[in-house]
């Protein structure tokens, strides 16, 4: 067989293999970079300065003195493989033989404001590990 035939067969096999796979990602809002956070000045910046730098928060909570602004960034990845897909070549009905796994994380940024309305401190609550694509659920 010629080179072109090999190429065509390879592409069809890749397409069939790929058709049994599924890569999905869900991203909620954009992450805030650490350089942006370093621009904040404790005891000086007011609410408007914070908002100009970081945007409006997702949540505001009360503290004993002042308040806390909370920003959230979510990322989740799901991968699924249907091992039954390959049987569509031989069988009229495609059996469902899925293995899949999803991982999701949320990054939370806390901005604490003093009772006089000035910026006090920030804290980034990062998840232990970033999400990854992997199909093995066990």
């Amino acid at each position: 067989m010629g080179k072109i035939w090999h190429c065509c067969i390879g592409m069809v096999l890749i397409a069939l293999w790929g058709a049994g796979c599924d890569f999905r990602r869900v991203v909620v809002n954009a992450p805030i970079s650490s350089e942006t956070l370093q621009r904040l000045n404790p005891g000086e910046d007011l609410l408007n300065d914070i908002v100009q730098t970081l945007g409006a928060p997702d949540e505001i909570d009360e503290m004993t003195k002042g308040m806390v602004l909370r920003y959230r960034y979510g990322d989740s990845k799901t991968m699924r493989v249907n091992f039954g897909w390959i049987f569509r070549i031989f069988l009229p009905v495609v059996p469902s033989m899925h293995l899949g796994r999803g991982e999701g994380v949320t990054h939370v940024l806390h901005i604490a404001m003093n009772g006089d309305g000035t910026f006090d401190h920030y804290f980034v609550q990062d998840p232990p590990a970033p999400p990854r694509f992997w199909f093995w659920p066990f």
């Binding site: 069939l16 058709a19 890569f23 999905r24 990602r25 869900v26 809002n29 309305g117």
Partner: protein
């Protein structure tokens, strides 16, 4: 003669240009899975005019509720009553076996003093830069 013509057609299909081959591959792939672009919105967009209409030290709580409706949430913090309005926008791109679903939120916070007059307005637009993306890897 007929055999010669058939051989020519087959050889043309197999040896066709790169474009023809790619169209064939895309056709096969398209038949296998397909693609989708979907958008979902929750809440009405906050127009600039409506936000500019909120005047600090003048606009009352009732006027804010009249312009923006009932708030999604009312928070009490640092001596202020705060009305919170949210809007969500989402864009899903799905081609063959790759998909990415981007969600963005706009938040409007209106701070009132003890007299129920607007003291501060905080607005952030994160849906303006939201894109349709398909590739799930990387950033």
């Amino acid at each position: 003669m007929k055999n010669n013509n058939l051989a020519f057609l087959i050889s043309y299909a197999v040896r066709g240009s790169a474009l023809v081959r790619w169209i064939g591959v895309l056709g096969i792939a398209g038949l296998l899975m397909g693609c989708a672009f979907v958008r979902g919105e929750v809440g009405e967009p906050f127009s600039e005019e409506r936000i500019k209409a909120l005047e600090k030290g003048k606009t009352t709580r009732q006027e804010v509720a009249l312009h923006f409706g009932a708030p999604d949430e009312v928070v009490e913090a640092n001596g202020y009553d705060i009305f919170h309005y949210r809007r969500f926008d989402s864009k899903l791109g799905w081609v063959l076996f790759f998909s990415r679903f981007n969600v963005g939120s706009d938040n409007l916070w209106v701070f009132f003093n003890s007299q129920g007059i607007v003291q501060e307005v905080v607005f952030g637009n994160r849906t303006g830069n939201l894109e349709f993306q398909v590739w799930p890897f990387g950033e």
